[in-house]
Protein backbone atom coordinates (compact mmCIF):
# COMPACT_ATOMS: atom_id res chain seq x y z
CA UNK A 1 0.00 0.00 0.00
CA UNK A 2 1.23 3.50 -0.77
CA UNK A 3 1.55 5.95 2.15
CA UNK A 4 -1.47 8.03 1.08
CA UNK A 5 -4.52 6.97 -0.92
CA UNK A 6 -4.49 8.16 -4.55
CA UNK A 7 -8.22 8.13 -5.15
CA UNK A 8 -11.59 7.96 -3.44
CA UNK A 9 -13.22 5.64 -5.93
CA UNK A 10 -11.49 2.37 -5.07
CA UNK A 11 -13.31 -0.03 -2.81
CA UNK A 12 -11.85 -0.96 0.56
CA UNK A 13 -9.88 -4.17 0.97
CA UNK A 14 -11.69 -7.01 2.68
CA UNK A 15 -8.92 -7.80 5.14
CA UNK A 16 -8.47 -5.66 8.26
CA UNK A 17 -5.82 -2.96 8.10
CA UNK A 18 -3.80 -1.02 10.65
CA UNK A 19 -4.14 2.73 10.73
CA UNK A 20 -1.52 4.50 8.66
CA UNK A 21 -1.92 7.82 10.51
CA UNK A 22 -0.48 7.97 13.99
CA UNK A 23 1.12 10.32 16.51
CA UNK A 24 4.47 9.86 14.71
CA UNK A 25 2.93 11.49 11.62
CA UNK A 26 2.16 14.82 13.29
CA UNK A 27 3.81 17.92 11.95
CA UNK A 28 1.90 20.29 14.25
CA UNK A 29 0.12 19.76 17.56
CA UNK A 30 -1.81 22.58 19.25
CA UNK A 31 -0.26 24.20 22.33
CA UNK A 32 2.75 21.91 22.06
CA UNK A 33 6.16 23.48 21.60
CA UNK A 34 8.37 20.42 21.88
CA UNK A 35 6.69 18.13 19.36
CA UNK A 36 9.23 15.59 18.09
CA UNK A 37 9.76 15.86 14.33
CA UNK A 38 7.66 13.41 12.29
CA UNK A 39 9.36 10.13 11.49
CA UNK A 40 8.35 10.19 7.83
CA UNK A 41 6.80 12.54 5.32
CA UNK A 42 3.52 11.25 3.94
CA UNK A 43 2.52 12.30 0.45
CA UNK A 44 0.32 15.40 0.80
CA UNK A 45 -3.29 14.71 -0.10
CA UNK A 46 -6.04 17.03 -1.29
CA UNK A 47 -9.72 17.08 -2.02
CA UNK A 48 -10.63 18.97 -5.15
CA UNK A 49 -14.14 20.37 -5.45
CA UNK A 50 -15.09 21.42 -8.95
CA UNK A 51 -18.07 23.72 -8.42
CA UNK A 52 -18.78 23.71 -12.17
CA UNK A 53 -19.54 19.99 -12.05
CA UNK A 54 -21.65 20.07 -8.89
CA UNK A 55 -25.36 19.38 -9.35
CA UNK A 56 -26.34 20.19 -5.76
CA UNK A 57 -27.64 16.70 -4.95
CA UNK A 58 -26.23 16.73 -1.41
CA UNK A 59 -25.01 13.14 -1.68
CA UNK A 60 -21.79 14.43 -0.09
CA UNK A 61 -23.75 15.71 2.92
CA UNK A 62 -25.55 12.40 3.28
CA UNK A 63 -22.32 10.44 2.95
CA UNK A 64 -20.68 12.70 5.55
CA UNK A 65 -23.54 12.19 8.01
CA UNK A 66 -23.49 8.47 7.31
CA UNK A 67 -19.76 7.96 7.69
CA UNK A 68 -19.30 10.22 10.73
CA UNK A 69 -22.46 8.87 12.31
CA UNK A 70 -23.79 12.35 13.14
CA UNK A 71 -27.47 13.10 13.41
CA UNK A 72 -28.27 16.64 12.31
CA UNK A 73 -31.62 17.87 13.58
CA UNK A 74 -34.52 17.86 11.14
CA UNK A 75 -34.43 21.33 9.58
CA UNK A 76 -36.94 23.93 8.64
CA UNK A 77 -37.51 25.04 5.06
CA UNK A 78 -37.14 28.78 4.76
CA UNK A 79 -37.28 28.83 0.98
CA UNK A 80 -33.65 28.17 0.10
CA UNK A 81 -31.91 24.99 -0.92
CA UNK A 82 -29.17 25.29 1.67
CA UNK A 83 -30.10 22.72 4.28
CA UNK A 84 -29.33 22.82 7.17
CA UNK A 85 -28.95 26.60 7.23
CA UNK A 86 -25.39 26.48 8.46
CA UNK A 87 -22.61 24.09 9.35
CA UNK A 88 -23.24 22.51 12.73
CA UNK A 89 -21.42 20.17 15.08
CA UNK A 90 -23.43 17.44 13.34
CA UNK A 91 -23.04 18.68 9.77
CA UNK A 92 -19.40 18.95 8.76
CA UNK A 93 -20.08 19.86 5.15
CA UNK A 94 -22.78 21.96 3.57
CA UNK A 95 -23.83 22.79 0.04
CA UNK A 96 -24.25 26.55 -0.06
CA UNK A 97 -26.51 27.73 -2.87
CA UNK A 98 -26.16 31.24 -4.29
CA UNK A 99 -28.24 32.84 -7.03
CA UNK A 100 -25.92 35.25 -8.79
CA UNK A 101 -26.61 37.44 -11.80
CA UNK A 102 -23.52 37.71 -13.94
CA UNK A 103 -23.30 41.43 -14.78
CA UNK A 104 -21.46 40.82 -18.06
CA UNK A 105 -24.02 38.34 -19.48
CA UNK A 106 -27.11 39.18 -17.41
CA UNK A 107 -27.47 35.43 -16.89
CA UNK A 108 -28.63 33.98 -13.61
CA UNK A 109 -25.97 31.58 -12.38
CA UNK A 110 -26.75 29.06 -9.71
CA UNK A 111 -23.55 28.75 -7.71
CA UNK A 112 -23.23 25.74 -5.46
CA UNK A 113 -20.25 25.49 -3.17
CA UNK A 114 -19.61 22.60 -0.86
CA UNK A 115 -18.49 24.36 2.32
CA UNK A 116 -16.37 22.71 5.01
CA UNK A 117 -12.92 22.68 6.50
CA UNK A 118 -10.26 23.73 3.97
CA UNK A 119 -7.41 21.95 5.82
CA UNK A 120 -5.09 24.96 5.63
CA UNK A 121 -1.35 24.38 5.49
CA UNK A 122 -1.15 27.19 8.08
CA UNK A 123 -4.19 26.42 10.23
CA UNK A 124 -5.57 29.37 12.25
CA UNK A 125 -7.60 27.03 14.45
CA UNK A 126 -4.49 25.17 15.53
CA UNK A 127 -2.59 28.39 16.15
CA UNK A 128 -5.40 29.71 18.38
CA UNK A 129 -6.01 26.48 20.31
CA UNK A 130 -4.87 26.58 23.97
CA UNK A 131 -5.38 22.87 24.70
CA UNK A 132 -2.37 20.62 24.04
CA UNK A 133 -3.15 18.12 21.30
CA UNK A 134 -6.75 19.16 20.70
CA UNK A 135 -5.88 20.10 17.11
CA UNK A 136 -3.25 18.27 15.09
CA UNK A 137 -1.87 18.44 11.59
CA UNK A 138 -0.52 15.34 9.86
CA UNK A 139 2.33 15.39 7.38
CA UNK A 140 -0.17 14.57 4.62
CA UNK A 141 -1.85 17.93 5.31
CA UNK A 142 -4.96 16.81 7.19
CA UNK A 143 -5.94 19.07 10.11
CA UNK A 144 -7.87 17.08 12.67
CA UNK A 145 -9.63 17.79 15.97
CA UNK A 146 -8.81 15.31 18.75
CA UNK A 147 -11.99 15.61 20.74
CA UNK A 148 -10.81 14.11 24.02
CA UNK A 149 -8.28 16.95 24.34
CA UNK A 150 -10.75 19.70 23.39
CA UNK A 151 -11.90 22.01 26.20
CA UNK A 152 -14.66 23.79 24.28
CA UNK A 153 -13.27 27.32 24.61
CA UNK A 154 -14.11 28.32 21.04
CA UNK A 155 -10.68 29.81 20.28
CA UNK A 156 -10.52 27.73 17.07
CA UNK A 157 -13.68 29.52 15.92
CA UNK A 158 -11.84 32.83 16.25
CA UNK A 159 -8.67 31.48 14.65
CA UNK A 160 -10.33 30.01 11.56
CA UNK A 161 -10.35 32.31 8.48
CA UNK A 162 -13.23 30.30 6.96
CA UNK A 163 -15.74 30.16 9.86
CA UNK A 164 -15.76 26.36 10.03
CA UNK A 165 -15.48 24.91 13.57
CA UNK A 166 -18.67 24.49 15.57
CA UNK A 167 -18.87 23.85 19.31
CA UNK A 168 -21.31 21.19 20.42
CA UNK A 169 -23.82 22.28 23.05
CA UNK A 170 -24.03 18.66 24.15
CA UNK A 171 -20.40 17.83 24.94
CA UNK A 172 -18.71 21.26 24.59
CA UNK A 173 -16.20 20.10 22.04
CA UNK A 174 -15.35 21.47 18.60
CA UNK A 175 -16.33 19.62 15.43
CA UNK A 176 -15.51 19.97 11.76
CA UNK A 177 -14.64 17.98 8.64
CA UNK A 178 -11.81 15.53 9.33
CA UNK A 179 -11.09 14.99 5.63
CA UNK A 180 -12.11 11.49 6.69
CA UNK A 181 -8.72 11.04 8.35
CA UNK A 182 -9.94 7.68 9.64
CA UNK A 183 -10.64 6.54 6.06
CA UNK A 184 -7.46 8.05 4.65
CA UNK A 185 -5.52 6.21 7.36
CA UNK A 186 -6.65 2.91 5.81
CA UNK A 187 -6.15 3.85 2.18
CA UNK A 188 -9.64 5.16 1.46
CA UNK A 189 -10.71 8.57 0.17
CA UNK A 190 -13.21 10.80 1.97
CA UNK A 191 -16.85 9.66 2.08
CA UNK A 192 -18.11 12.77 0.26
CA UNK A 193 -15.75 12.19 -2.67
CA UNK A 194 -16.72 8.54 -2.80
CA UNK A 195 -20.43 9.44 -2.91
CA UNK A 196 -20.27 12.28 -5.45
CA UNK A 197 -22.19 11.10 -8.55
CA UNK A 198 -20.56 13.58 -10.97
CA UNK A 199 -17.07 13.41 -9.50
CA UNK A 200 -17.28 17.09 -8.76
CA UNK A 201 -15.43 16.02 -5.62
CA UNK A 202 -12.25 14.11 -6.29
CA UNK A 203 -9.48 13.08 -3.97
CA UNK A 204 -5.84 12.14 -4.31
CA UNK A 205 -2.36 13.54 -3.83
CA UNK A 206 -2.21 17.31 -3.84
CA UNK A 207 0.05 17.12 -6.89
CA UNK A 208 -2.41 14.96 -8.83
CA UNK A 209 -5.34 17.14 -7.83
CA UNK A 210 -3.54 20.31 -8.95
CA UNK A 211 -2.81 18.68 -12.30
CA UNK A 212 -6.39 17.45 -12.61
CA UNK A 213 -7.60 20.99 -11.86
CA UNK A 214 -5.45 22.38 -14.68
CA UNK A 215 -7.31 20.20 -17.17
CA UNK A 216 -10.66 21.28 -15.76
CA UNK A 217 -9.65 24.96 -15.86
CA UNK A 218 -8.50 24.67 -19.48
CA UNK A 219 -11.86 23.10 -20.31
CA UNK A 220 -13.78 25.88 -18.53
CA UNK A 221 -11.72 28.56 -20.26
CA UNK A 222 -12.50 26.98 -23.64
CA UNK A 223 -16.18 27.29 -22.73
CA UNK A 224 -15.94 31.03 -22.12
CA UNK A 225 -15.08 31.17 -18.43
CA UNK A 226 -12.00 33.34 -18.88
CA UNK A 227 -11.45 33.73 -15.14
CA UNK A 228 -11.73 30.06 -14.26
CA UNK A 229 -9.03 29.01 -11.83
CA UNK A 230 -7.89 26.98 -8.87
CA UNK A 231 -8.68 28.21 -5.36
CA UNK A 232 -5.65 27.22 -3.28
CA UNK A 233 -5.23 30.43 -1.26
CA UNK A 234 -1.58 31.28 -0.52
CA UNK A 235 -2.56 33.47 2.48
CA UNK A 236 -3.01 30.32 4.56
CA UNK A 237 -0.10 28.50 2.92
CA UNK A 238 -2.39 26.74 0.46
CA UNK A 239 -5.15 24.34 1.41
CA UNK A 240 -5.74 20.60 1.23
CA UNK A 241 -9.29 21.18 0.09
CA UNK A 242 -9.26 23.14 -3.16
CA UNK A 243 -11.94 24.48 -5.46
CA UNK A 244 -12.14 24.83 -9.18
CA UNK A 245 -14.09 28.07 -9.54
CA UNK A 246 -15.44 29.34 -12.87
CA UNK A 247 -15.10 32.88 -11.45
CA UNK A 248 -11.83 32.58 -9.57
CA UNK A 249 -11.37 36.38 -9.80
CA UNK A 250 -14.18 36.85 -7.26
CA UNK A 251 -14.43 33.93 -4.85
CA UNK A 252 -16.75 35.95 -2.59
CA UNK A 253 -19.71 35.39 -4.92
CA UNK A 254 -19.66 31.73 -3.83
CA UNK A 255 -21.49 32.27 -0.54
CA UNK A 256 -18.79 34.57 0.86
CA UNK A 257 -15.78 32.40 0.18
CA UNK A 258 -12.93 34.74 1.32
CA UNK A 259 -11.02 36.36 -1.56
CA UNK A 260 -7.73 36.43 0.34
CA UNK A 261 -8.08 34.30 3.45
CA UNK A 262 -5.37 34.57 6.08
CA UNK A 263 -5.18 34.24 9.82
CA UNK A 264 -6.56 37.52 11.17
CA UNK A 265 -3.83 39.94 12.32
CA UNK A 266 -5.86 40.33 15.51
CA UNK A 267 -5.46 36.60 16.18
CA UNK A 268 -1.75 36.80 15.27
CA UNK A 269 -1.29 39.67 17.75
CA UNK A 270 -3.23 37.81 20.43
CA UNK A 271 -1.24 34.62 20.00
CA UNK A 272 2.10 36.35 19.34
CA UNK A 273 3.05 39.76 20.70
CA UNK A 274 0.44 39.83 23.49
CA UNK A 275 1.62 36.52 24.87
CA UNK A 276 5.32 37.38 24.94
CA UNK A 277 4.96 41.00 26.08
CA UNK A 278 2.25 39.95 28.55
CA UNK A 279 4.28 37.19 30.15
CA UNK A 280 7.30 39.52 30.28
CA UNK A 281 5.25 42.32 31.89
CA UNK A 282 3.80 40.04 34.56
CA UNK A 283 7.21 38.51 35.21
CA UNK A 284 8.77 41.96 35.43
CA UNK A 285 6.16 43.12 37.95
CA UNK A 286 6.64 40.04 40.09
CA UNK A 287 10.44 40.20 39.90
CA UNK A 288 10.44 43.96 40.54
CA UNK A 289 8.30 43.52 43.66
CA UNK A 290 10.54 40.73 44.89
CA UNK A 291 13.72 42.74 44.34
CA UNK A 292 12.24 45.81 46.03
CA UNK A 293 11.08 43.59 48.87
CA UNK A 294 14.55 42.13 49.37
CA UNK A 295 16.65 45.27 48.95
CA UNK A 296 14.43 48.16 50.10
CA UNK A 297 13.70 48.59 53.76
CA UNK A 298 10.08 47.91 54.63
CA UNK A 299 7.96 50.98 55.20
CA UNK A 300 7.43 50.68 58.96
CA UNK A 301 5.38 52.81 61.29
CA UNK A 302 7.77 54.34 63.83
CA UNK A 303 7.29 54.83 67.54
CA UNK A 304 7.16 58.58 66.88
CA UNK A 305 4.29 58.07 64.43
CA UNK A 306 2.27 56.29 67.11
CA UNK A 307 3.08 58.95 69.70
CA UNK A 308 2.13 61.74 67.31
CA UNK A 309 -1.21 60.06 66.65
CA UNK A 310 -1.86 59.55 70.37
CA UNK A 311 -1.02 63.18 71.04
CA UNK A 312 -3.30 64.36 68.25
CA UNK A 313 -6.19 62.30 69.54
CA UNK A 314 -5.67 63.27 73.20
CA UNK A 315 -5.34 67.00 72.60
CA UNK A 316 -8.38 67.28 70.34
CA UNK A 317 -10.82 65.06 72.23
CA UNK A 318 -11.25 67.55 75.07
CA UNK A 319 -12.42 70.29 72.73
CA UNK A 320 -16.07 70.86 71.67
CA UNK A 321 -17.48 69.12 68.62
CA UNK A 322 -17.45 71.35 65.52
CA UNK A 323 -21.07 71.91 64.49
CA UNK A 324 -20.83 71.50 60.75
CA UNK A 325 -19.88 67.85 60.84
CA UNK A 326 -21.49 66.54 64.00
CA UNK A 327 -24.41 64.91 62.20
CA UNK A 328 -22.43 63.78 59.20
CA UNK A 329 -21.57 60.17 58.48
CA UNK A 330 -22.81 58.11 61.38
CA UNK A 331 -21.51 54.60 61.53
CA UNK A 332 -23.47 52.66 58.95
Amino acid sequence: MSDSPRTAVSNPPTQPMVSNLGPADLIRRSATEDLPPPQRQLTPVAKLIDVSKCIGCKACQSACVEWNDTTPAVGENVGVYTNPHDLTENMFTLMRFTEWVNPSTDNLEWLIRKDGCMHCADPGCLKACPAPGAIVQYTNGIVDFIHENCIGCGYCVKGCPFNIPRISKADHRAYKCTLCSDRVAVGQGPACAKACPTQAIVFGTKEDMTRHAEGRIADLKSRGYANAGLYDPPGVGGTHVMYVLHHNDKPHIYADLPDNPRISPVVQTWKGLTKYVGLAAMGFMAAGSLIHGVFARPNRVSKEDEESAEKLVETTIGQPVPEASSSNGERG
Binding site: S264, G278, P298, V301
Partner: protein, 226 residues
Protein backbone atom coordinates in the same frame (compact mmCIF):
# COMPACT_ATOMS: atom_id res chain seq x y z
CA UNK B 1 -12.76 70.31 49.26
CA UNK B 2 -13.35 68.44 52.47
CA UNK B 3 -13.39 64.73 51.88
CA UNK B 4 -16.51 63.00 53.02
CA UNK B 5 -15.67 60.68 55.88
CA UNK B 6 -16.57 57.12 55.03
CA UNK B 7 -19.28 55.66 57.22
CA UNK B 8 -17.74 53.33 59.77
CA UNK B 9 -14.35 55.02 59.96
CA UNK B 10 -13.71 55.83 63.63
CA UNK B 11 -10.95 56.34 66.15
CA UNK B 12 -10.45 54.29 69.29
CA UNK B 13 -8.27 56.27 71.72
CA UNK B 14 -5.66 54.30 73.64
CA UNK B 15 -2.06 53.21 73.47
CA UNK B 16 -1.75 52.74 70.60
CA UNK B 17 -4.66 54.55 69.04
CA UNK B 18 -6.50 52.33 66.56
CA UNK B 19 -8.56 53.54 63.65
CA UNK B 20 -11.42 51.58 62.04
CA UNK B 21 -10.87 51.53 58.28
CA UNK B 22 -13.09 48.73 56.91
CA UNK B 23 -16.25 47.14 58.34
CA UNK B 24 -16.91 43.41 58.41
CA UNK B 25 -19.02 43.40 55.25
CA UNK B 26 -16.41 45.32 53.27
CA UNK B 27 -13.68 42.94 54.42
CA UNK B 28 -15.64 39.81 53.56
CA UNK B 29 -16.42 41.31 50.18
CA UNK B 30 -12.78 42.23 49.66
CA UNK B 31 -11.69 38.64 50.22
CA UNK B 32 -14.36 37.33 47.86
CA UNK B 33 -13.01 39.72 45.22
CA UNK B 34 -9.43 38.71 46.02
CA UNK B 35 -10.14 34.98 45.84
CA UNK B 36 -12.04 35.41 42.58
CA UNK B 37 -9.24 37.43 41.05
CA UNK B 38 -6.65 34.83 42.00
CA UNK B 39 -8.78 31.97 40.64
CA UNK B 40 -9.44 33.95 37.47
CA UNK B 41 -5.76 34.69 37.01
CA UNK B 42 -4.83 31.02 37.45
CA UNK B 43 -7.55 29.67 35.16
CA UNK B 44 -7.02 32.46 32.63
CA UNK B 45 -3.25 32.04 32.52
CA UNK B 46 -3.78 28.31 31.96
CA UNK B 47 -5.46 29.16 28.66
CA UNK B 48 -3.13 32.08 27.88
CA UNK B 49 0.05 30.13 27.23
CA UNK B 50 0.65 26.39 26.70
CA UNK B 51 3.46 26.43 29.29
CA UNK B 52 0.82 27.29 31.91
CA UNK B 53 -1.84 24.82 30.74
CA UNK B 54 -0.90 22.56 33.68
CA UNK B 55 -2.77 25.03 35.90
CA UNK B 56 -6.02 23.53 34.56
CA UNK B 57 -5.32 20.61 36.93
CA UNK B 58 -6.24 22.94 39.81
CA UNK B 59 -9.75 23.21 38.42
CA UNK B 60 -10.21 19.58 37.45
CA UNK B 61 -9.05 19.68 33.83
CA UNK B 62 -9.39 21.87 30.77
CA UNK B 63 -13.13 21.45 30.31
CA UNK B 64 -13.82 22.50 33.92
CA UNK B 65 -11.40 25.41 33.68
CA UNK B 66 -13.23 26.62 30.59
CA UNK B 67 -16.61 26.18 32.31
CA UNK B 68 -15.73 27.76 35.70
CA UNK B 69 -13.67 30.76 34.58
CA UNK B 70 -16.56 32.91 33.31
CA UNK B 71 -18.72 32.20 36.35
CA UNK B 72 -15.89 33.24 38.67
CA UNK B 73 -15.70 36.37 36.52
CA UNK B 74 -19.33 37.13 37.26
CA UNK B 75 -18.65 36.75 41.01
CA UNK B 76 -15.67 39.10 40.74
CA UNK B 77 -17.66 41.65 38.78
CA UNK B 78 -20.50 41.73 41.31
CA UNK B 79 -18.31 41.74 44.41
CA UNK B 80 -15.95 44.36 43.03
CA UNK B 81 -18.73 46.72 42.08
CA UNK B 82 -20.39 46.43 45.49
CA UNK B 83 -17.00 47.52 46.77
CA UNK B 84 -16.72 50.17 44.09
CA UNK B 85 -19.88 51.98 45.12
CA UNK B 86 -18.68 52.11 48.74
CA UNK B 87 -15.28 53.52 47.87
CA UNK B 88 -15.49 55.60 44.70
CA UNK B 89 -16.10 58.93 46.42
CA UNK B 90 -13.03 58.58 48.60
CA UNK B 91 -11.05 57.76 45.46
CA UNK B 92 -11.93 60.91 43.52
CA UNK B 93 -8.77 62.71 42.48
CA UNK B 94 -7.48 65.54 44.67
CA UNK B 95 -4.91 68.20 43.82
CA UNK B 96 -2.45 66.69 46.31
CA UNK B 97 -2.43 63.47 44.24
CA UNK B 98 -0.24 65.17 41.64
CA UNK B 99 2.41 65.73 44.26
CA UNK B 100 2.40 62.02 45.08
CA UNK B 101 2.72 61.09 41.42
CA UNK B 102 5.57 63.51 40.79
CA UNK B 103 7.52 62.34 43.86
CA UNK B 104 7.41 58.60 43.23
CA UNK B 105 11.04 58.38 44.30
CA UNK B 106 10.16 59.48 47.83
CA UNK B 107 7.24 57.06 47.76
CA UNK B 108 9.20 53.95 46.83
CA UNK B 109 12.05 54.79 49.19
CA UNK B 110 9.63 55.39 52.05
CA UNK B 111 10.48 59.08 52.60
CA UNK B 112 6.98 60.12 53.48
CA UNK B 113 8.21 63.08 55.46
CA UNK B 114 8.84 64.76 52.07
CA UNK B 115 5.25 64.25 50.99
CA UNK B 116 2.14 66.24 51.88
CA UNK B 117 -0.67 64.81 54.01
CA UNK B 118 -3.13 62.49 52.29
CA UNK B 119 -6.75 61.57 52.89
CA UNK B 120 -8.04 58.02 53.18
CA UNK B 121 -6.38 57.09 49.88
CA UNK B 122 -3.19 58.32 48.25
CA UNK B 123 -2.72 58.68 44.51
CA UNK B 124 -1.23 55.21 44.16
CA UNK B 125 -4.21 53.59 45.83
CA UNK B 126 -6.53 55.67 43.66
CA UNK B 127 -4.71 54.60 40.50
CA UNK B 128 -5.08 50.97 41.57
CA UNK B 129 -8.76 51.49 42.37
CA UNK B 130 -9.65 53.11 39.04
CA UNK B 131 -7.45 50.75 37.02
CA UNK B 132 -9.19 47.78 38.63
CA UNK B 133 -12.61 49.31 37.96
CA UNK B 134 -11.81 50.08 34.33
CA UNK B 135 -10.12 46.75 33.62
CA UNK B 136 -12.89 44.74 35.27
CA UNK B 137 -15.43 46.53 33.08
CA UNK B 138 -13.41 45.70 29.96
CA UNK B 139 -12.91 42.12 31.14
CA UNK B 140 -16.57 41.46 31.89
CA UNK B 141 -17.74 43.06 28.62
CA UNK B 142 -15.24 41.20 26.44
CA UNK B 143 -15.57 38.08 28.58
CA UNK B 144 -19.30 37.89 27.90
CA UNK B 145 -18.64 38.19 24.17
CA UNK B 146 -16.27 35.22 24.21
CA UNK B 147 -18.35 33.14 26.64
CA UNK B 148 -18.79 30.41 24.06
CA UNK B 149 -21.42 28.45 25.95
CA UNK B 150 -24.03 31.20 26.18
CA UNK B 151 -23.07 34.31 24.26
CA UNK B 152 -21.16 33.22 21.15
CA UNK B 153 -24.04 33.80 18.70
CA UNK B 154 -24.60 37.41 19.74
CA UNK B 155 -21.44 38.88 18.23
CA UNK B 156 -19.65 38.33 14.94
CA UNK B 157 -16.41 36.39 14.75
CA UNK B 158 -14.32 39.52 13.89
CA UNK B 159 -15.81 41.23 16.96
CA UNK B 160 -15.00 38.22 19.12
CA UNK B 161 -11.40 38.25 17.84
CA UNK B 162 -11.03 41.84 19.07
CA UNK B 163 -12.78 40.88 22.31
CA UNK B 164 -10.42 37.99 22.99
CA UNK B 165 -7.39 40.21 22.31
CA UNK B 166 -8.73 42.99 24.55
CA UNK B 167 -9.54 40.39 27.21
CA UNK B 168 -5.98 39.04 27.14
CA UNK B 169 -4.38 42.50 27.29
CA UNK B 170 -6.69 43.65 30.11
CA UNK B 171 -5.98 40.44 32.00
CA UNK B 172 -2.23 41.00 31.77
CA UNK B 173 -2.69 44.57 33.01
CA UNK B 174 -4.97 43.63 35.89
CA UNK B 175 -2.52 40.94 37.03
CA UNK B 176 0.21 43.61 37.04
CA UNK B 177 -2.04 45.96 39.02
CA UNK B 178 -2.87 43.09 41.37
CA UNK B 179 0.81 42.35 42.00
CA UNK B 180 1.39 46.05 42.72
CA UNK B 181 -1.59 46.15 45.08
CA UNK B 182 -0.52 43.08 47.04
CA UNK B 183 3.12 44.11 47.18
CA UNK B 184 2.31 47.65 48.33
CA UNK B 185 0.12 46.25 51.10
CA UNK B 186 2.91 43.97 52.29
CA UNK B 187 5.75 46.49 51.95
CA UNK B 188 3.80 49.15 53.82
CA UNK B 189 3.86 47.36 57.16
CA UNK B 190 0.70 47.50 59.22
CA UNK B 191 -1.57 47.68 56.18
CA UNK B 192 -2.77 44.09 56.01
CA UNK B 193 -4.61 44.34 59.33
CA UNK B 194 -6.96 46.84 57.68
CA UNK B 195 -8.30 43.92 55.66
CA UNK B 196 -8.09 41.33 58.41
CA UNK B 197 -9.06 43.06 61.67
CA UNK B 198 -10.50 46.08 59.85
CA UNK B 199 -8.43 48.62 61.75
CA UNK B 200 -5.02 50.24 61.57
CA UNK B 201 -2.93 51.84 64.28
CA UNK B 202 -3.01 55.58 64.81
CA UNK B 203 0.66 55.68 63.88
CA UNK B 204 -0.06 54.04 60.54
CA UNK B 205 -2.78 56.59 59.84
CA UNK B 206 -0.48 59.41 60.98
CA UNK B 207 2.33 58.23 58.73
CA UNK B 208 0.40 57.43 55.57
CA UNK B 209 -3.00 59.13 55.74
CA UNK B 210 -2.59 62.02 58.15
CA UNK B 211 -5.28 64.13 56.53
CA UNK B 212 -7.77 61.30 57.00
CA UNK B 213 -6.73 60.92 60.65
CA UNK B 214 -7.03 64.66 61.26
CA UNK B 215 -10.51 64.69 59.73
CA UNK B 216 -11.65 61.79 61.88
CA UNK B 217 -10.26 63.49 64.96
CA UNK B 218 -11.63 66.87 63.94
CA UNK B 219 -15.11 65.45 63.41
CA UNK B 220 -15.00 63.44 66.67
CA UNK B 221 -15.41 60.07 65.03
CA UNK B 222 -14.74 58.28 68.25
CA UNK B 223 -15.67 54.63 68.42
CA UNK B 224 -16.37 52.71 71.63
CA UNK B 225 -13.25 51.99 73.66
CA UNK B 226 -11.73 48.57 73.07
Amino acid sequence: MVERIQPGDAIHPGKPVTVDRYGVAARVNHWITAASLILLALSGLALFDPSLFFLTALFGGGQNTRAFHPWIGVVLFVSFFVFFFQLWRANLPASVDWVWLTRLKDVVTGHEENLPEFGKYNAGQKVIFWSMAFLILVLIATGLMIWEQYFAPYTSIPTRRIAVLAHAISAVLIICVFILHVYAAIWTRGTLRAMTRGSVTGGWAWRHHRKWLRELVGQRKIGPAE
